[in-house]
């Protein structure tokens, strides 16, 4: 009894705290604390919002309230944003960058002066020392020019992240100050000719010299952003490592390689479709002598380094995409409001309005997801947000493509010409679906990681079922009966309200999310029981699983954000509610359809036909249907 009382007493306190005070501001103190000791990961806190969705649970504490930054931080950010915005609007000539396929020195100097090369490097090393949330905000602006955004991202989101996350103090001391000012530019060298997304087949080799003080690096890396500009490179190579049993094994190791070490040859910059101003080229290493102190982390621990760098760098694509779309909405709205056709303004046509609504919804959802994830990552204890970050990347890269294409469509033929920036944006944003892990690979990652998590917990139960345990069977059947009778309640809505519950204000949408999550849990269980570990090979199934999950995470982000907006009375919050409801409604139906597809033996489940079509075509490596004009007699 006494325990209950304590709980009851503590509830209002928790509710009050969660609703009206921000949690993140308190963490600002932690932030400084842990940023200086980022390398230590003993107290790794396991964040599991997305993973819990696989079990049909909503882990509210992780996503509600929507993360905030403190007033001081906000002021600081506003002061920072203003000159950057001004610089991008006035001094950056994107059309010229695109045409000449190079960012001019003047522009580069401007970027360096603004400190944009060291956004996340701690202040003690001469950087801005901003949190992920603030980095995301700056990303909105830098994204206005794709080439600059990619150059900056290759520099600090992946290029120097290795030193930042895993480097020792000496390495940080030595390299970060110059990288922060942009005097040195960093690059990330993982991809090789023989291994695109399959990093396991790395051929570049580092051999220890006889004196044991240096590694000799040999090999070629492909598609290295900033490859031609970089002075400092994070390079991954195979090294021979003696493992516990005394056997020699090849393992991946990460190195900091300076161009000054010699033997670094960069090829001709690639001529690309988009982000033409960014420098992408081949980098070859020929007997490059790397001192042993330049190993990042430990010898043979390169995989962990690469994984963490990549997994943490992706979230900012959400805010970047949103930044571009917001700008395009402004530009196209101007056009649609002034152009007249059939004695009506373009903006009065339903189909044009549809496009604006689409763009607005995508921008809103992308923003919500990106800042939610950034906020999660800014919490103390180095949370693992790789799943969330990957989902943000998938959603926003595809959303950007759709929205930019819609924006171009509003202008019709004009949008197709080089007189307007739309075609450049379209070309630039195509790369988003490809780099930092293609969307297909990331979908596999998201789905399989979740499946593994759910599998660890559900295996016992499923095995009992399969053994024919009658008790387990009866339990399942009764559960199914129960489920079909009641609407799922995961504590988001007021139906079974407890004072500790947070309530998402768009109630109907919250219910939709609940029902989706609940059904998703059941779907995952049935999938695990059907496929077990062979689900690794069921890519079409995993694609649907990932898509459902992404939609659910997007719904969560939108609901959380709009709830906060209502609570604190942000301007135009009714508009946000409208957007949230519209998106959730749409996503709910899509999710239901996809989960139906995941069921066994439903007509919608046409995975096998799709596979067969592809297999028949691929066997001949060409389109095999006869022309409709062919005759047999």
């Amino acid at each position: 009894m006494s325990l209950n009382k304590i709980c009851a007493l503590s509830r209002p306190v928790r509710l009050g705290r969660s609703l009206f005070t921000a949690r993140v501001p308190q963490t600002r103190d932690y932030l400084h604390h842990f940023q200086s000791r980022r390398g230590i990961r003993s107290s790794s806190r396991c964040l599991a919002y997305a993973k819990d969705l696989f079990l049909g649970k909503i882990n509210k504490d992780e996503v509600f309230p929507y993360p905030e930054i403190s007033n001081e931080e906000l002021d600081e950010l506003k002061q920072l944003v203003q000159p950057v915005e001004k610089f991008f609007n006035e001094s950056v000539d994107s059309e010229k960058i695109d045409r000449q396929a190079v960012i001019s020195d003047e522009t580069m100097r401007g970027l360096k002066e603004l400190g944009l090369f060291g956004i996340q490097i701690p202040e003690e090393y001469g950087g801005l020392g901003l949190s992920n949330t603030m980095y995301a905000r700056l990303g909105e602006i830098t994204a206005l020019d794709g080439s600059i955004a990619v150059t900056l991202a290759a520099h600090q989101a992946i290029g120097l992240k290795g030193i930042l996350l895993f480097g020792n103090d000496a390495q940080k001391e030595k390299y970060l100050p110059k990288l922060a000012t942009g005097e040195h530019i960093a690059a990330f060298c993982l991809t090789e000719p023989g291994s695109g997304s399959d990093a396991g087949s790395i051929q570049t080799r580092a051999t220890l010299t006889e004196d044991g003080k240096h590694f000799l690096l040999n090999g070629t890396k492909f598609w290295i952003s900033n490859g031609g500009l970089a002075d400092i490179m994070t390079v991954f190579a195979r090294t021979e490592v003696v493992d516990k049993d005394g056997k020699k094994k090849d393992k991946i190791t990460a190195f900091i390689v300076e161009r000054a070490f010699g033997g670094v040859i960069s090829g001709k910059p690639e001529d690309k479709l988009g982000i033409r101003g960014s420098n992408t080229c081949e980098v070859a290493f020929e007997d490059t002598k790397v001192p042993i102190e330049n190993v990042i982390g430990e010898v043979g621990g390169g995989f962990k380094v690469a994984m963490n760098i990549l997994n943490n760098g992706r979230f900012s694509m959400g805010s970047a995409g949103a930044g571009v779309i917001k700008k395009l909405i402004g530009l196209t709205a101007e056009y649609a409001g002034s152009r007249k056709q059939f004695n009506k303004r373009l903006s009065e046509f339903g189909m044009i309005q549809d496009k604006f609504a689409t763009m607005t919804i995508y921008a809103y959802v992308m923003e919500s997801m990106a800042y939610l994830t950034a906020g999660m990552m800014d919490r103390p204890g180095l949370p693992d947000c790789s799943l969330e970050a990957a989902m943000v990347k998938i959603f926003s890269s595809e959303g950007s493509w759709i929205c930019v294409s819609e924006a171009l469509q509003i202008l019709g033929g004009l949008g197709f010409t080089k007189n307007y920036p739309y075609e450049r944006y379209l070309r630039d944003c195509r790369i988003l679906q490809i780099f930092e892990g293609t969307n297909e690979i990331l979908r596999m990652f998201v789905a399989l990681t979740g499946m593994q998590y759910a599998g660890n917990i559900l295996t016992g139960k499923i095995k009992e079922m399969k053994k024919g345990n009658i008790a387990a069977f009866v339990e399942l059947m009764s559960q199914k009966m129960m489920n079909s009778m009641r609407t799922p309640d995961l504590g988001l809505t007021g139906t079974n309200w407890k004072s500790s519950d947070v309530i998402f204000f768009p109630q109907e949408s919250a219910k939709m999310l609940e029902s989706n999550v609940f059904n998703f849990g059941l779907t995952v269980e049935s999938l695990l029981s059907r496929y077990g570990k062979t689900i690794v090979d069921e890519q079409l199934v995993l694609k649907n699983v990932a898509d459902v999950l992404i939609n659910m995470y997007a719904m969560t982000a939108v609901l959380s954000r709009s709830t906060r907006s209502i609570c604190i009375g942000l301007r135009n919050h009714d508009h946000e509610i409208l957007i949230a409801n519209t998106f959730c409604n749409d996503a709910h139906f899509k999710n239901n359809f996809m989960m139906t597809q995941l069921r066994r033996d439903v007509p919608e489940n046409d995975g096998n036909s799709i596979k067969k079509i592809a297999q028949e075509v691929l066997a001949k490596r060409s389109y095999i249907c006869s022309s409709p004009l062919e005759r047999t007699f």
């Binding site: 399989l448 990681t449 593994q452 295996t459 499923i462 077990g532």
Partner: protein, 444 residues
């Protein structure tokens, strides 16, 4: 079902007189075939049903003998009656036999007699002679042949004629023409249909046969996923390339011509011919060969037959015995690359104690039979060891390891094809062949 039944029916048209002759026996037979309980069925009605009986009938016991003897008699009879027409072809054809001559003969027959006397026999004879003149694949010739039938004479004029088999011998002959067309895979065209309709009317057996052909032929025209062209290239090199790509099941397989055919005169005036050597090897085969254990021999075997329509070509294999189980090296899975928590982009395997559910396991339980390893294939102008060792040394250029592998030649001579079948496939190489294993070393 339609086609065999129809073909059978066509045969039965020919057999009709036989049935009349041995009526009593037939009745008993049909009573069985159709499971008709009545003990004394109407003889007349039963015989009419000849045209609609099921395919079971001809295999029935007592009737079989009669049918065959009757057929034999009939053939003899036919042979007798055809002598004159055969002569006609011999007389007119002369030594040179081609499409033109054939058409001339047809024209001559048509012009000879306005009544076209003996045209049925003539058409039978012409059908027989078509392959001889090399026109068996030509639709125009068949149409011309059908023109030999007089028009409109055999068209039934009233429903009674339509009901019965009007001019059976002529109709049967028309069916035979179509039959031969389908044997050679010749698709009738509109002209064929018009002619047949003019000659026999739309309700006749030949037109029905034509309709059935037009129903089935287009459906089967592209049924083969690996079509062989009607006209094969004349160049043996081209044929070799075509055949090798046809056998190799890999689109990546690369064809290499190791030697072009050529003929040289030596100083002494002797003729030296270099036979062509064309080989094919896929990248997979190449990498397998590179991994071959040099202490185990590889075998050059052949010739094996490949039929391209009527042409038989021969090919040779470079193969090895399957790798014994103890030599197989299992590739170790690096947990860092594959395990769920360590993999860089996505987990390549899940660490779960759950298997594929029975209901979703669609894989057949097929016993894994290990086959020999085939490393490369070739076709040569001359299947002797000298030529084939040139092929091996050609392969060696891209795969140097072949130089260290003992190569055993197990070649059957082309002429004594019976040897190929007599010799057990997996016998150890006999002593003669054992002499050869180090040959390829010398080449290096």
């Amino acid at each position: 079902m339609n086609v065999p039944r129809y073909l059978l029916r066509v045969q039965c048209i020919g057999c009709a007189p036989i049935f009349f002759g041995t009526g009593g026996q037939q009745v008993a037979l049909f009573a069985r075939a159709h499971l008709q309980p009545s003990a004394k069925p109407n003889i007349y009605g039963q015989i009419l049903r000849v045209f609609h009986r099921s395919a079971v009938c001809p295999t029935k016991g007592g009737y079989q003998g009669d049918y065959e003897t009757a057929l034999k008699e009939k053939e003899e009879e036919k042979a007798n009656s055809l002598i004159t027409q055969d002569d006609f072809f011999e007389r007119m054809g002369g030594d040179f036999k081609s499409k033109n001559e054939f058409l001339q003969i047809l024209d001559a027959f048509i012009a000879k007699d306005v009544r076209r006397r003996g045209h049925v026999d003539f058409i039978y004879a012409a059908l027989k002679k078509m392959p001889e003149f090399g026109v068996q694949y030509d639709i125009a010739v068949y149409n011309k042949l059908l023109e030999v039938f007089p028009k409109e004479v055999f068209v039934p004029r009233n429903y009674i004629q339509k009901m019965f088999n009007h001019f059976p011998r002529q109709q049967e002959c028309g069916v035979q023409v179509l039959e031969q067309m389908s044997t050679y895979g010749v698709m009738p065209n509109v002209e064929t249909k018009v002619i047949l309709a003019e000659v026999f009317g739309l309700q006749s057996h030949p037109v029905k046969k034509l309709r059935r052909i037009m129903y089935w032929f287009p459906k089967f025209k592209h049924v083969s996923p690996y079509p062989v062209p009607h006209v094969l290239p004349s160049d043996p090199l081209e044929i070799a390339k075509f055949s090798l790509t046809r056998i190799a099941a890999d689109l990546d397989a690369k064809i290499t011509i190791y030697q072009y055919p050529s003929t040289d005169l030596t100083e002494t005036g002797e003729e030296v011919t270099c036979p062509y050597i064309v080989g094919i090897q896929s990248p997979d085969q190449h990498s397998l060969l590179a991994k071959h254990n040099p202490s185990r021999p590889v075998f050059v075997e052949g010739p094996f037959n490949l039929w391209l329509r009527k042409k038989c070509v021969h090919y040779y294999l470079l193969r090895a015995d399957p790798i014994p189980a103890e030599e197989k090296v299992e590739e170790e899975i690096d947990p860092e690359l594959f395990s769920p928590h360590q993999s860089l982009f996505f987990p390549r395997l899940l660490n779960l104690d759950l298997e594929l559910d029975l209901g979703d396991d669609y894989s057949f339980d097929v016993e894994d039979v290990e086959n020999d390893l085939v490393y490369a294939m070739c076709m040569v102008g001359k299947g002797d060891e000298v030529t084939l060792s040139k092929w091996i040394s050609g392969l060696q250029e891209s795969c140097p390891v072949l130089g260290q592998i003992p190569t055993v030649f197990r070649i059957q001579s082309m002429n004594s094809s019976s040897d190929v079948h007599e010799k057990p496939e997996h016998s150890e190489p006999n002593q003669n062949e054992e002499k050869e294993p180090e040959r390829s070393k010398g080449v290096q």
